[in-house]
Symmetry: C2
Subunit: 401 residues, 2 copies
């Protein structure tokens, strides 16, 4: 089973049983479940002949023999609450399977390979992102150590409890790396819609997240005439549709109001306040910036026309990441050499590749997933598609030989 | 102070201190606070020379001497949580003050007068409406006795604990009444906007309350292209604006989406489900029915165009109540005789008058309140406006003499 797609799926199933909670998969950073999962991966890596170490935050790093900057292949081992099996582990297990194949074939690439299982990408426990790859790449910030989880445990305490070393995490320096490749489920419907097993990621979209609050005036739903109202929900509804319009009319843009809460939130009271979270993403930062500006002007126009107050708070803004053109061309070559159809796409979600791209040439392969569903137990991939991914990654890594 | 507007405000302040909770006014049905408030009102009534009784659910009824069906004046003594002082008590205290004036002037109307403080109108504790006036008017339903409050106490137990008699409440029969007059704060902005102290209510609006659910498909805000989305919030936003449009384009109609909840409700996920509560009111039932039909067709059109599912559940439907034209003309005469400006208006909220109107000719006077604010500690009335109300009610009741 080693080196096969069936083996990858079997290992994903085994990892999927390692959870903080009975009956569903939740595996957050620095929990006993994460340690058990890391132990399991460590055993597989050792069986594949890799020299395995665990770093200061619990990243599991398995390395082939040889000196010099390694080429890194991996993904993350942590999950969101009530997760599927593949978001993260598929990238680790694909990397491991290809290393097994290469070893079985006696192939030794020109640079050492590192298979990495990052200890935290989802950031669910401490409200962060990329703790694992940040520590791996020398970007772990001291101020994060004071972050507190829902049980009042600090990040520093959690790292210590899991056998790690918070000071060493902060003190880690950026390694020399030859490159990074990550296999990940698409988490979207594009490959399935187009009937394509795997795709080459050209860029990871930049994101703007904004909190938008419309403040009108609460009032009795029976006694305040329509003309006298300053209905915060009606104003918010116009904003939601304006956001959707900007998304629909801008090629490649996604723009979403995912959260909306009212005060009061009662059937017979005109809403006085509506709080929304806005999420805008695009592969090109200037396009995203223009879209955000347009939406902000829409919010102000809507508020002004309705006599309500609007507030706009930018909470998160990350630039788009263009993945390395050279690696991308080699991935495309590997796909064509394997006789697979070629499709490039933009990743709307962030990945460990965002962090690694700051250090070294970085590439990503997306694998088709059923219905585009992710962050859900229904997450599913086809064995044949995983087989294509293994074939592509193997050809790609052989190219390093 | 008896018989004056200042006295009414002082008594409202005294009642406003009688609460279940420290620091804010909450006085629900059959609580110790309600009993204390009823005791205080009983004392005032007895001082005014009324024969006072407390019925099976705790309604306080003070009667002048004389036989035959009484003319009833009153309102409710219970409040919502974190209430103002005037919603309810103003009508009881105005009635009492006018009875004091008539007694002081030696005026004896042609029929006995009853001042009634109803024990429950808001229905906050058991999720009902009009328990007090229902018991008073012989409409108390046996099935209500099994209703349970937030502490697991049944309505029957609560009535017993407050010294009442649940079986007698169920067994009460409809009394013979000469008529009913209720003074109440407007709870809306119309009188203030028009600069009018008191208004004559022509009708109490009928209400339709509907639960509307839009079901689309949740998805990743970064990875699901705009064209592939079935966004439940975007669909709901169209519904909110359609409801507002129907309200604005129909004279006298109010149409509100007061509550909206999403699943999931997370910034980076396209909402999969939006649940709304719709509230539609109008003085004319056919107008309301047409508006509800229009909104329902809008919901279906929006759902169909967006490929989402819509569900529509009518949860509450009450007919409009036209108040007695004869009493209304006499109220208008009393206003004009006092030299006050005349304004008629529709009540968008329900009142005890809805229940009493089933038994006898019923009238209502609205008193201007600051900003139209009600169900809030900021509830406020002007002493001068209360003075106008007392003058109008006195002239009206003298007309019965």
């Amino acid at each position: 089973m080693t080196g096969t797609a069936a083996g990858v799926l079997a290992r994903a199933a085994a990892l999927g049983e390692i959870s903080e909670e009975p009956g569903r998969l939740t595996r957050r950073f620095a929990t006993p479940a994460m340690t058990r999962a890391a132990d399991l991966v460590t055993g597989w890596m050792e069986n594949a002949g890799l020299a395995v170490r665990r770093d200061a935050v619990g990243n599991v790093i398995g390395r082939t023999r040889g000196d010099g900057p390694p080429f890194v292949v991996g993904s993350h081992l942590d999950t969101v609450p009530n997760a599927g099996r593949y978001d993260g582990p598929l990238g680790i297990l694909s990397a491991l399977a290809v290393v097994e194949r290469l070893a079985a074939g006696g192939v030794r690439p020109s640079v050492p390979l590192e298979v990495v299982a990052f200890a935290d990408e989802e950031g669910t426990r401490f409200g962060t992102s990329y703790l694992g790859s940040a520590a791996y790449s020398g970007g772990f910030k001291r101020e994060w150590l004071g972050l507190v989880d829902a049980d009042g445990i600090t990040l520093a305490e959690a790292i210590l409890a899991a056998g790690g070393d918070p000071e060493a995490a902060v003190g880690s320096s950026a390694p020399q790396l030859a490159g990074y490749l990550e296999v990940h489920i698409e988490q979207g419907p594009v490959l399935e819609r187009d009937g394509i097993p795997v795709g080459v990621v050209t860029a990871i979209a930049g994101q703007s997240r904004v909190r938008v609050v419309m403040r009108g005036e609460a009032g009795h739903a029976g006694t305040v005439p329509m003309a006298a109202r300053r209905d915060a929900l009606a104003a918010a509804a116009e904003v939601v549709l304006a956001v959707e319009h900007v998304g629909r009319s801008t090629d490649g843009l996604v723009a979403t109001v995912g959260a909306l809460e009212l005060s009061p939130n009662v059937g017979n009271v005109v809403p006085g306040e509506a709080r929304m979270l806005l999420d805008v993403r695009h592969a090109a930062d200037p396009v995203r910036a223009r879209a955000v500006d347009t939406i902000r002007a829409d919010v102000e126009r809507i508020a002004s026309a309705r006599g309500v107050d609007a507030s706009w708070t930018l909470r998160y803004d990350t630039a788009a990441v263009e993945l390395a053109p050279g690696l991308r061309r080699r991935l495309e070559g590997a796909i064509e050499a394997g006789g697979h159809p070629l499709r490039t796409l933009v990743s709307g979600a962030g990945h460990d590749a965002v962090v690694l791209s700051r250090l070294c040439p970085t590439a990503m392969v997306f694998v088709r997933c059923a219905g585009g569903v992710s962050h859900d137990p229904r997450e599913s991939v086809e064995e044949a598609d995983v087989g294509v991914a293994l074939d592509v990654v193997e050809r790609f890594l052989r190219g390093l030989a």
